[in-house]
């Protein structure tokens, strides 16, 4: 019997959804809204560089990025599939969305290892 890929894809979708839910709003609020508006004292370059370039942070960012990309792929696939009724293009949409997620994850991996 052919094994379905859906459980693995759903696990990636679920992991990405949880990571995005737990971490992204606080990052967006501090780095892109409250900091630029002066509501909080924006972290200095030295503070951010020491934090962001630490190996543990890079590992965390890679996990966050990869899971979030696959979260998007799975959710967007079904948004197109159900929302726009593109049932006949299911395979093409799946190849495009998971393909883009895979490429973005690889790019994030390269950036966070040899790119920094």
């Amino acid at each position: 019997m052919k094994r379905s890929r859906e459980p693995a894809l759903w696990a990636l979708f679920s992991g990405g959804g949880m990571m995005a839910a737990l971490f992204l709003p606080a990052l967006a609020f501090v780095l892109w809204v409250a900091g630029p508006l002066g509501w909080v004292t924006a972290p200095s370059f030295e503070t951010l560089a020491a934090l962001a370039l630490h190996p543990l942070t890079r590992f965390f960012l890679f996990g966050l990025a990869g899971l979030c990309f696959f979260h998007w792929a799975h959710r967007f696939r079904y948004t197109l599939y159900d929302g726009l009724q593109l049932y006949h293009l299911d395979r093409l949409i799946a190849v495009l969305t998971y393909g883009v997620a895979t490429l973005l994850t690889l790019a994030a991996g390269v950036l966070l290892t040899i790119g920094l």
Binding site: A20, L22, L27, W32, P36, L48, L53, Y78, Y87, G115
Partner: protein, 141 residues
């Protein structure tokens, strides 16, 4: 064309009745609009992650490169756009964590853990993660 891309799809089958549904079916009810809005938060998730990676890349290239990103982040329209992105991310968090009891069924000594407890634990985890990030980013300024 569709058949070639997805052999499982049958545009017509004599035994099945398929009512044609308009593309904007989700505009007919408030609950459907909320559902599609929730689904459309995923591009904002990708945008946020890409922007984070851009910032990390700029940090690695040094202060002048990072300053250029900071200057761009400080522009009025960019801040307004990011306030909108933040709203989409918060909407994702709230709707995602509210669904946790449906996805996670826990049993303790044979009894199912109430939905409210599971939901509260997830929102508590969100608050703890946000506080930790706030401390990491701002606590040591």
């Amino acid at each position: 064309m569709g058949q070639a891309l997805n052999p499982d799809h049958t545009p017509y089958h004599p035994k099945w009745y398929r009512r044609r549904i308009p593309i904007f079916w989700w505009l007919s009810k408030r609950g459907y609009v909320k559902f599609i809005t929730r689904e459309l938060t995923s591009p904002f998730v990708v945008y946020a992650v890409l922007l984070l990676l851009v910032q990390v890349g700029a940090l690695a290239r040094g202060q002048p490169a990072y300053q250029r990103v900071e200057d761009w982040l400080g522009r009025g329209p960019v801040v307004a756009w990011h306030a909108f992105v933040l709203a989409a991310l918060v909407f994702h968090s709230v709707t995602w964590l509210n669904l946790a009891p449906s996805a996670l069924v826990l049993r303790l000594r044979g009894a199912r853990v109430p939905d409210g407890v599971i939901r509260a634990a997830h929102f508590g985890a969100w608050a703890a993660c946000s506080a930790m990030l706030g401390w990491l980013l701002l606590g040591r300024v």
